[in-house]
Assembly symmetry: C2
Homo-oligomer: 448 residues x 2
């Protein structure tokens, strides 16, 4: 009974049993998420989503939309913060799996923590970890078959993680938690055909809201299956052709999935990060040798086949599409020497120089190359050919972002929205979240 086992484990999880490394990466995951939710709000998707639900907003609400400081009801906050947190494709990623664990869980959990204030930091962090462990065990249990079918695994498992986290915070009993998991599991959101459109971050917001509502519905007495994950016609069998759920559930509390979390240095699909690293290196080499980027005649990469599976978008016109175009990231890495939010605007995507360089890029599948590895090349008109091999992309598990990078990333994202002084205050607030006596006050504490 995997559903019941997850419910029991999650409800029993206790803050005092959590190790320092687990708590440390949980805190990093939280502030990295907050940076994305605040900074990502300037993308089109969260703004459009808020416009769509504005006619339904109640007059009251005490959950914050982190990107604009607006107070709304919890179901709206979960949606909009979830969309914003994924809109820049700048969030976190599980080592073994393209799950971005924090978005669906924290968007729901912060909304509920503000609504049900005061929530202790310890309880919040424990519920967050419970949700992440549940969603990642599920994700690992159906990966890669589920993903290869075309599901956006972040949102498909994320709603269940959100239900577990919120259910724990609400104090559901075991039966209610099983039902919450099942109610979340029958709402499967997110497919690959949305990648490169605003619907992709919408998946995360809706998943967060679905999970939150599943917990509330179970609490309100809506009955559901007790075995939603493992039933013959339940989640694992309906959405995947392979699954290993029982074995994964047996590792709960033994292998901590959150300790496998990693953070993105570039706001775009993680699968192209290794190649970006390589092209940034080649630009530096070229400049050192006195070569001119304008003289590049060919750009190449040998990468894991997942790169072309996900990012084979040569003809693009929007910043969002740029995040899923290996050709675009090649061009900006070589032209700008970086890949930050400013390289993924509509303007840069439509820039003639960038577009011309995109056309010179050829990517070749190589099954022997890992997902965090890439071999890249650049050829110049004078015949010079530069090559670089990236073994472990920056931000991968083997080559993680250090604390300084993570802080800089947070400050830069949040400064875009509220200025640097408040950004520094916000960083201090989130880094101390485990000691907060009222998590709900955090989102407001740094705005004044």
């Amino acid at each position: 009974m995997a559903t019941k086992a997850i419910a029991i484990w999650a409800l029993a999880l206790n803050y005092t049993s959590l190790s320092t490394p687990v708590l440390d990466i949980a805190t990093k995951s939280i502030y990295n998420w907050a940076g994305c939710a605040i900074g990502g709000y300037d993308q089109a998707a969260p703004v459009a989503a808020l416009a769509a639900v504005t006619p339904f907003l109640g007059s009251q609400g005490n959950s914050t939309i982190f990107g604009n400081g607006m107070l709304v009801d919890a179901q709206t906050a979960a949606l909009i913060n979830g969309v914003a947190s994924h809109a820049d494709d700048y969030d976190d990623t599980h080592r073994d799996n393209p799950i971005h664990p924090s978005g669906p869980v924290l968007s729901a959990l912060f909304a509920v923590a503000e609504w049900k204030a005061p929530v202790l930091g310890e309880d919040f962090v424990t519920a967050f970890i419970a949700g992440v462990e549940a969603e990642c065990k599920l994700g690992v249990s159906v990966y890669p078959a589920h993903y290869e079918l075309g599901w956006h695994i972040t949102s498909t498992v994320g709603s269940i993680g959100a239900a577990v986290a919120v259910g724990k915070l609400l104090g559901l009993n075991t039966t209610q938690m099983q039902q919450a998991i099942s109610i979340a599991s029958v709402q499967v959101t997110g497919m690959h055909d949305s990648f490169g459109t605003d619907t992709k971050p919408f998946h995360v917001g809706r998943a967060s809201q679905n999970g939150m509502m599943a917990a509330l519905l179970a609490q309100a007495g809506l009955s559901g299956a007790l075995n939603g994950l493992e039933a013959d016609k339940g989640w694992t069998h309906v959405v995947s052709t392979q699954e290993n759920l029982k074995a994964e559930v047996d590792t709960l509390g033994k292998t901590w999935e959150i300790s496998l979390n990693t953070f993105k240095p570039y706001p775009c699909d993680r699968i192209i990060h290794a190649a970006i690293d390589g092209w940034i290196q080649l630009r530096a080499q070229a400049l050192e040798k006195g070569l001119n980027i304008a003289d590049i005649i060919r750009v190449g990469a040998r990468t894991n086949p997942m790169v072309l599976f996900l990012t084979d978008k040569p003809n693009i016109t929007t910043g969002v599409e740029g995040k899923f175009s290996v050709y675009h990231v090649a061009a900006v890495a070589l032209l700008y020497g970086e890949a930050t939010p400013t390289q993924f605007t509509d303007e840069v995507v439509r820039n003639a120089t960038v577009a011309a360089l995109r056309e010179k890029v050829t990517v070749v599948n190589d099954e022997t190359v890992t997902e965090h590895e890439a071999s890249v090349t650049v050829e110049f008109a004078d015949g010079t050919k530069l090559e670089y091999h990236v073994e472990h992309a920056l931000g991968s598990f083997e080559n993680p972002l250090d604390d300084k990078f993570l802080k800089t990333k947070f400050i830069e994202q949040v400064t875009r929205s509220i200025g640097q002084a408040k950004a520094e205050k916000a960083f201090s607030a989130y880094i101390g979240i485990a000691n907060a006596t009222d998590v709900g006050a955090l989102g407001r504490s740094y705005r004044t």
Copy 2:
């Protein structure tokens, strides 16, 4: 480009081009839905769902929850009416497919029509038909593979039908409609593991809300795939192992799916209706012969294998479970001579006589028996054996409910909620919907 073809066809559909038979069955579908949405509100599921969302209700709203007359915002009304309309399992069904077409589409459409009042009856009916055609073409195109995977096809296609209907009412352009279809298509709600729980009707409410929101999101500028249905990693390929979408889309406006709609005489899974007809006949025969129902020692049925696939629930304790138990319907048909909402209460399910008779029932799969056919038997202690063969279940396409039955069904359901006088008024209102100058006023017109 099936997504675009559906968008263009739906937007172009015109009231004056609709034939009288199509309009006639559309009207029946609408009042049958209204009866279910009003009468079904006394089930546990809509009440629990409303309790869960009550903390988020705004102070304003002009969309009616039909079962209780409460005015709420449109996204809440779509959810709660959708849940209520399916809570009794008393709604409509497509001839070739277990889709209940009206629930997801009308729950969204009424909510929006009240919000965006005044909406003309002609426009409402045309949008409704567009939504039903879209959802049923989709459903037929992936049936049975999609259903056999475990998806609850009513809600999985229903959200897309709702998006099309609402999108047409809102006046989306073609691109927005394609995006609305895609945004709805990536939110796939409903699995068989929920059957027999409150989560099953929740599927319908959430699908309705998802579709409505998809149209609003597209209108608000949230970008989405333009080819969500046919994309390699889009709806048909992700949720089914077989599809025939292009061929089905080519029949839009030629084969009218709504003309294949049928209505249920019993508030339970349609697949057991033929057997219920048979057992009701056998009870009558037994009484005529002076036999005593208490002397039954064995009850049998030979039915299509889908009967046991969906309703093999011998051990049940709730009324909702009774709707998915072939054993329970055998017992109540024989003991009460009918299968109305009163036979699907927790009390009747727990009644010792009913429970004892359930245990005497054996059902055998027979692939040569159609889904609307059944051969049933009853054996008595004195050795008498009665047999009956039902070729076309009451309410099937070949043996439809007549106008009188449909009216009686409506009046009985609605009387449960608002009394007979208002029920009669309501019937007059809904039967004249095509001529209404403000559809939004309908839900309020019969309450005073």
